[in-house]
Amino acid sequence: MPDAVAEKVIATLASVKRIPAENIKLDTNLQEMGIDSLDVFTLLFELENAFKISIPDDDVRSLKTVNDVVEGIKKLLAAAPPDASVGSTSPAS
């Protein structure tokens, strides 16, 4: 059963690709589901907002499946508290 992080990742993917969340499993291959490089930018942006984290560029290159994304986010969440600058409503100045 997908946990809360996985559910959020799947919901985000479903929203980016405009497909039902039920069609996405943890072992679904990102490329096979039609995620191209532009979709990846959008996906990371939405995931950063959803989890209030900052995903380093280097962490992105090895992502193959939905589970890779979920595990990567879990690692980032464990390593650091949510990034206050992401999705914050305080003025940038």
Partner: protein, 408 residues
Amino acid sequence: MGSRRVAITGLGIVSPLGLDLAKNWENLRAGRSAIGALQCVDGSRVGLKIQNAAQVRDFDPLKHFEGGKDAQLDRFAQFSVVSARAAMKDSGLELTSSLRENAAIVCGSAVGGQAAIEAGFEDLWVNGRGRVHPLTIPKTMANAGASHISMDLGLSGPVYTISTACSSANHAIGQAFRLVRDGQAEMAVTGGAEAFFTVGMLKAWEAMRVISPDTCRPFSKDRRGMILGEGGAMMILEPLDAAKARGARIYAEVCGLGMTSDAHHLTQPAVEGPARAMRSALREAQMAPEEVGYINAHGTGTLGNDPVESRAIREVFGAHADKVGVSSTKSMHGHALGAAGALEAIATILALYKGILPPTVNYLGRDPECDLDYIPNQSREARVGAAISNSFAFGGLNAVVAFRSPEA
């Protein structure tokens, strides 16, 4: 360099007058205006005074783009692709690999993906976010429309966008015409697209004090300014001989482009530059002024443009000016900036093809300074052999395209 005649064999349009060609023509012919209350933008927070506009209504990107692709295109690029697909289909042209490689795309857009960049600025400066959407750049770039058409239709010849404010689409159509005429392309997709209804853009237009508080009444007494519009319109050009050989429907021929600049003032209209552009288009088309039976005017409905354009027409056409039907279809579809010339080219081409001249609607009566036949309020049945379409831009850039009926 060869010099070939150039046929228009496909038309596609998404405009405030309708989401397809048939609906657009039905409304142009009936003289129905799409100008109405501005609903797509909430400007109440900043006291937006612009109340009316010509909006493309009921356009659903999800009907045209699958798998989240819609989010990769700003609204103006969506209009570009949807109208190009429709024009391609309408042409019935079969795309071989050789034709794909020799196909040009020349599009006009004055401001590109304004909604995308403005959403980014709002995130930064209003919502206090430290980041903007990662597709802001590729959605904002003015060539996005042309690039997406290229990818969508698989056309890989010369592809570029012309940005000359309100003359963009006419410059584009004229350049595409010359590419096909001169043998530098075997076909072309050309036209323009614009979608700029954002709070920031509307406030900027408001500050110019040229927007009418009610509606657009070109050349009419009591006119109070222009009404902004949006949309996309594309056409397929191919050599006339090739079009005839495949038995294609030929709407009209593009036969001349006139380009001049006023070298005068950033926003104030002038007589001389537009007059020279009309003469230049006629010269390239080898068209006598007396051949022209219809002029789709720039006709913004501002106090400044309309008398100046009327004088320019009189200067070029002399006594014949009284025999030419002149209308501004902006009274129906609004002023769509970089797409204006494309929406108006389609009105002009259909006028030639159908033998019906679209009217200037919202016309209340004669302004002594505007003394031509503006086809007031009702379309007119008239078989005319040739027509020109005028676009004059801020910055003093003028572009006029000349068309001939296929029967002429």
